[in-house]
Subunit: 341 residues, 2 copies
């Protein structure tokens, strides 16, 4: 497939790129952004990625991840169309590219950063595979394809369209993007195309086992202890499995929210379970809830009922409530949607 010509043209015409991605960036966010930066640099363009800090330990192995800058250090004076306004030691940007994200409000949890980004006067491009949300700025040049398993696959096609070189560094970033968003080829989005591109990336130097180990097998002992706590807290009433991690569990294991990545997916391992829910007590009385489902069960509808969102098989929301209250409300909604009797 070939990316839209207006996107290719916009990249060709500009020289200095600001790359941003979503909050709590994952392997697709980082891998796609870094691969795009490397592509632009092959054509002697300047590019900078600004993202939330710190970079999670499991993605620090990504070649180029050390060049990512802390989004809190983004200066408003850089957010201008470059022309002749370049200052020394500063990098004004011609163009902003949102990668793996199609909504300005998802770039940061901090309002002042969002407002700062909104002052950007240049063109905005969007490269993303998430379902389109309402954009504050509808003048963006968008390439949004929810049929693609990962934004990394779209960046792969972009590199092909530019006849760019897929270096081992780029291959490693794109392979990571793909395996993180397909659960290492286990989710419904694992297609012939996904496996074929993965194979091609290996021929360009991506090392599957090495990348898998860094992305998925880099648990600390504390995280492992937290996982055991979650398993011990499980409530199993097929087709539902629910678990809960309390603030106390986090404190006792010296862990934080980012340590729970992939916990909820693990509960899918039960044959009779089609829907899994994980409640995490971020602060007392404030919970983050992750929902996962198998097959045609659409948990994004449930998440939307609570003001959240996501995909059919992976969604989430936040709620101010105790675990018991939130759990009971979720069960009620599941009954409304005939997911539970």
């Amino acid at each position: 497939m070939r990316p839209p010509e207006y996107l290719i043209d916009a990249i060709k015409k500009n020289n200095s790129f600001l790359i941003l991605t979503h909050t709590t960036p994952d392997g697709d966010a980082f891998g796609s952004s870094i691969a795009l930066k490397f592509l632009l640099e092959q054509f002697n363009k300047k590019a900078e990625i600004y993202a939330e800090y710190p970079i999670p330990v499991q993605y620090q192995f990504l070649p180029g991840s050390d060049s990512i800058k802390n989004i809190e250090l983004l200066k408003v004076e850089d957010l201008v169309f470059s022309c002749n306004c370049a200052k020394e030691n500063s990098l004004p940007f011609d163009i902003l590219i949102l990668v793996d994200c199609n909504n300005l409000s998802r770039i940061s949890y901090k309002k002042e950063i969002i407002e700062k980004i909104k002052t950007f006067s240049g063109t905005k491009l969007i490269i993303d595979h998430h379902v389109e949300s309402n954009l504050p700025d509808h003048n963006s040049l968008k390439w949004i394809d929810p049929q693609k398993a990962a934004t990394g696959i779209m960046v792969f096609y972009l590199i092909k369209a530019f006849n760019g070189e897929i270096t081992p560094q780029i291959a490693t970033n794109l392979y990571t993007a793909i395996i993180v968003d397909t659960g290492n080829f286990q989710f419904e989005n694992t297609t012939k195309e996904v496996l074929s591109i993965a194979s091609e990336l290996v021929s360009y130097g991506a090392k599957p086992s090495y990348i898998y180990q860094h992305s998925f097998e880099s648990w600390s002992q504390n995280r492992f202890r937290l996982f055991i706590k979650m398993l011990n807290n499980i409530e199993l009433f097929p087709p539902i499995a629910i678990s809960f991690i309390s603030k106390k569990d986090f404190d006792e294991t010296l862990t934080q929210e980012s340590d729970t990545e992939r916990f909820v997916e693990f509960l899918r391992i039960l044959k009779e379970v089609n829907i899994t829910a994980l409640f995490r007590e971020i602060q007392e009385g404030f919970l983050k809830v992750s929902l996962r489902s198998k097959g045609d069960l659409d948990v994004s509808k449930i998440a939307e009922e609570f003001g959240g969102g996501g995909h059919k098989n992976a969604a989430g929301y936040r709620i101010s409530a105790s675990f018991e209250e939130a759990r009971n409300k979720l069960i009620e909604k599941m009954k409304v949607y005939n997911m539970l009797k």
Copy 2:
């Protein structure tokens, strides 16, 4: 790649095939055997698979698995060269094919079955990717390639060599063979070739997520409770993680050895852990030990020291000892091999 001509010739010349595989058959054993049976049937040959019963629940979805026969029902009078000796309601075999196994002694735990198989008077073929062990019968026609990630990949090439049709049923069996032996594309044996063949199998009708769910996400609640017991029994002293499942653990959760598939692999998830060992008490005082390693660490050497074997990153052995004794002996050997200080 093309299988050896003597193997192709032997298949062409014969009409009635007995397919056998190793004890405690896994997805590669079943998937490769069934795909081979389907290939032979495309050429109007007769083929029967005899294997240990019952077929584990996670492989009962495999198309053709319902035609597998219980190896304990194999009759000695069937183990003759066919010619004119065929009886009604009986199927004498021209030729025996060992699939995913290269040693007659690994076909069954029962000596009388091994002895019965040794009476087979026809030709023996071997298609396998395990390192060759000492064979009681060196007159077999062997195609053994330890460079291949799964025997399923070799059967894939065999089908290509015969210009056979890769039906959705065959694709599903071969895809399962591949993902079970590569840990769904996570182990060191995941190559460009593996991913490329997987992609091709999807184009022939294999459904990755469906197959993954059946093969890997079909745990019973009892198995899940056994897993939690294993995690609670863990001893962590990086780079080693050791766990133990007692006879009592099995009994309390109404589980058996086959329920521990992939348990030892899970412990790889710890960043600081490079070698994992799982001791399973099959009978009081009799243990099965599984070893796994990351990267260049060769645990097959350790397994060989105890009379077992396997691959560099996945090996095992059996030992008559208490857990404490066996554990201490293992640690001693690891020190000898400089895997532990």
